[in-house]
Symmetry: C2
Subunit: 231 residues, 2 copies
DNA sequence: TCGACTTTGTGCAGCGCTTCACAAAGGCAC
DNA sequence: GTGCCTTTGTGAAGCGCTGCACAAAGTCGA
């Protein structure tokens, strides 16, 4: 069978590459702040914490933006990566669930500086509605659909308790949202065409614990001190 | 050249598998709460959001804990995964940086319920020192090394501003810590033998923006409206 | 203008993870 | 006991990502 030869500029950037582009972007912004005009793949890779071959291959998926013998123009590369990620446009984000995490997210500087604008804070708890956080007033989540439609929200952050997450998810999808960032510790069920990314703070700690345990005693305790039925 | 044949119980669990074990654990806990005694790989996979072949292969790396024709004993599997992840022991965690995010983490229920105990909250800002959060008193970060040593802290969460992160990192490593969870938006430099895991809230949003852009107009705007020198 | 030097962009081999498909293994009905 | 049915555990193929190594391409000094 004949397989199609992938075109160079065909819109098919590997997921692994997309996941690293924000890393490069941050490293480049750091360089730009220090007034660096051009940077080699070697130096940029060092700043981003990857190896240089990988960096070059990643960037080659976007196009041929470097100059052999010189490196990459910092400003130009910032622009190209931003454009590829869609950060040259303005994204309206709504945060649902204004607990500790929701507040932290609303105040997080990393959003506004990258093309994201918090366009709404919503919560179901009347005791929280009306609070002023990061320049916004918390609204009741009854108005979720209205907020999404009126303010052109295209990305929703779910920071509610686990029990409420699926319902919120269904409602925002009903209102037309197709990109969701989920902090609640549940697996969300969504129709095709909707992207969900999940961040789970405790999972990361558990992975660390796994490796830490191995450092200490070479693996789980071997004693089968299990008192249940199987054994 | 002759390659070693990997032993079944050899301590070499793929990283991809380790990253999914916490997912299975959560799904299992959900089933246990509902009183389910046994579960098939098909049903558990559904609850965890993966496919069943992957689940079975993952579990097979831990051992042979299922019963053919029946499935897995929920309680027994919870115990085995917990043991493998090292959650049957008690981990003392210190959180450095008590801003919005640090507070959210200190109050996050997902920690305590999984073998993690917040043993210290530290911050460099005198205005924050002395605050009571989640039953603890915030201490000054001058005492970082002392807290780590005295309370047996083995995992440190860095939730400081980017500028302070590397310095905190160096200090905790100096105090003997080899597992770090980093929320600051910088690439930490650490010696061999130290594990760093990174969580970056804005990166996830940027990845979502990338996919959202593609849904809207099939990719980045093609107009090369760049006004810089290269072009 | 030319040659030496630097750095990019990429073909290719290797590796690890995913997925399929099925034989082996255990339970259950009779 | 025996045979059928369900479900696990796993060999093997497929796929995508990584990293090496180098030719191509561009700069810079003389």
């Amino acid at each position: 069978m004949i397989r199609r030869i992938p075109q160079a500029r065909e819109r098919g950037i590997p997921d692994a590459t997309v996941a690293r582009l924000p890393l490069y972007l941050r490293a480049l912004n750091g360089l730009a702040e220090r007034g660096t005009a051009t940077v080699s793949s070697e130096d940029l890779a060092l700043a981003a914490g990857v190896n240089s071959a990988k960096l070059r291959k990643d960037l080659s998926h976007l196009g041929s933006y470097g100059t052999r013998g010189v490196g990459y123009d910092v400003q130009y590369l910032i622009y190209q990566i931003s454009r590829e990620l869609g950060l040259t446009q303005d994204w309206a984000v709504a945060i649902v669930g204004v607990g500790n995490l929701g507040r932290a997210l609303a105040n997080y500087g990393g959003f506004v500086s990258r093309g994201f604008r918090v366009a709404g804070l919503l919560d179901a708890d009347p005791a929280v509605v009306g609070d002023h956080i990061a320049g916004l007033t918390v609204e009741h989540s009854d108005g979720l659909e209205a907020v999404i439609r009126k303010r052109g929200v295209s990305i929703v952050v779910i920071a509610t308790p686990a029990a409420a997450a699926q319902q919120v998810c269904d409602r925002v999808i009903g209102a037309g949202v197709t990109s969701i960032l989920n902090f609640a510790p549940v697996v969300l069920t969504v129709p095709d065409g909707v992207d969900v990314r999940k961040v789970d703070l405790s999972i990361e700690l558990q992975i660390l614990a796994f490796h830490e345990q191995r450092k200490i005693n070479g693996g789980p305790l071997m004693a089968e001190d299990w008192a249940g039925e199987a054994g």
